[in-house]
């Protein structure tokens, strides 16, 4: 019962802050509402006994990535941004499209079925601790996807370095 109430609370706040993030005129407020959204996502992970994911969600997304977003926003002139009435002219069309999309998603919900239980029921994760369970899985059964993700990130890092280098040489 308590868990369901908590889930309901988190879900409602996620939807609400998501709407604020899209609709707020001041982009700083958008970023902050996304931060609140990430918090409640972490709350959902906690409800699923995934405490490691919850902590990483806050450290990486709220603590690092959103701060970088704010950094970029601060370099934009917000005074003008706030005064703009609408970013796109076809407001009516987008409303219709998003309402249709929402209706489609709602129509799909009844066909959602719970899958079969896997190797890791709640009791086993509680006994192993979530961090350990995830580490064991990630470094044994899912080592290939993990390595591929690592490689993609490495490419992004090298790409960033190359871009930064070039700009410096041009300036000199």
């Amino acid at each position: 019962m308590v868990n369901q109430l908590l889930f309901l609370y988190c879900a409602v706040v996620i939807i609400g802050t998501g709407l604020v993030a899209v609709r707020a005129k001041n982009p700083v407020y958008s970023v902050l509402s996304v931060m609140v959204l990430f918090f409640h996502m972490a709350g959902l992970y906690l409800l699923l006994n995934a405490e490691f994911l919850a902590a990483i969600q806050i450290i990486v997304y709220a603590g690092a990535i959103l701060v970088l977003y704010l950094f970029v926003l601060f370099l934009v002139s917000l005074r003008q941004e706030v005064k703009i009435e609408r970013f796109i002219a076809s407001h009516g069309v987008s409303t219709v499209v998003s309402v249709c999309l929402g209706a489609c998603l709602l129509a799909i919900i009844p066909s959602f079925k719970l899958g079969a239980k896997g190797q890791y029921p709640v009791e086993r994760i509680e006994q192993l601790t979530h961090t350990k369970a995830m580490g064991l899985e990630l470094y044994s059964n899912f080592i290939l996807p993990f390595e591929i993700a690592g490689l993609i990130l490495l490419i992004a890092v090298i790409g960033g370095l190359v871009l930064a280098r070039n700009e410096k040489e041009v300036n000199e």
Binding site: V28, A55, I56, I58, A62, V67, L70, F74, T131
Partner: protein, 322 residues
Amino acid sequence: MQILTIILQIAILLVIVLLHVAYATYFERKIIGHMQVRMGPMLVGYHGLLQPIADGIKSFFKEDVIPAQADKPLFLFAPVICLVTMLTSLAVIPFAKGWVLADINIGLLFIFAMSSLASYGVILAGWASNSKYTFLGGLRSMAQVISYEIPLGLSLVGVMMLSGSLNLTTIVTSQGNSFSSMYLFPQIIGFFVFFIAMLAETNRVPFDLPEAETELVSGYITEYSGMRYALFFMAEYIGMMVMASIGTICFLGGWNGPFEIPFFPPFWFILKVYGFIFFFIWIRATLPRYRYDQLMELGWKLLIPLALLNILLTGLFKILVH
């Protein structure tokens, strides 16, 4: 009933920590005073002992000035973010065996999460005040926190590997009871990186660029006054205490000491934390401030490679031993 006891425990912890914060400022002013051959606060009470209380009353009754062009909701909210995140991390710190509010499995990660969120308070304070000095302070703090969170986290990975847990109580108990089994010795590189990153993460001298008085008046807190200013101040000192506690727990064996103290098990813990805080203050009285590019170079080119090397060495050591 259970909820009531928890609330009571939280209230007791809050009162004790806030009193400690008040007297940590006194401690700091006295030590810096004596290091600079002054007396420090002397007038209020015996040797200035009532000075923190006088300061508290003063800031409580001061006018709360809000700049006309400020972004009002964020301006009002920013100090609260700083203080709340810092206070929240107190919940997972074990002061002695069993003396912890929330003994969670991811204690260490929880503290990282909270300390990275505290930077929002600083950044938003800088932006919402709508002044050049505060804004520059906020930007600097943003860059500094992002850069130093990485070595801070990596420096503790060695400790996590040795103890095999993220739970702070387990980290302390796995260090055993003797002096030589403290993680300080096998993790000496980690401790070095942690100590420097800790100074930077708490915005203390020599890394106090976000509030560099000589350039930025007072950085991100320039426009704040009265109780809101005091909130930032409290957040900074609680941040120091939390970081000192993490250092104590991860490297100095937590509450273990040469002998047991009857009736008051956290004695050694508090002593070690105050040792750390003394170092903070000593460094503040001794070192000049880093330049911005030096700060970035130190973080990215020295601390992060050292922390990675430490992880590699710890891993090799673990493989060789087993």
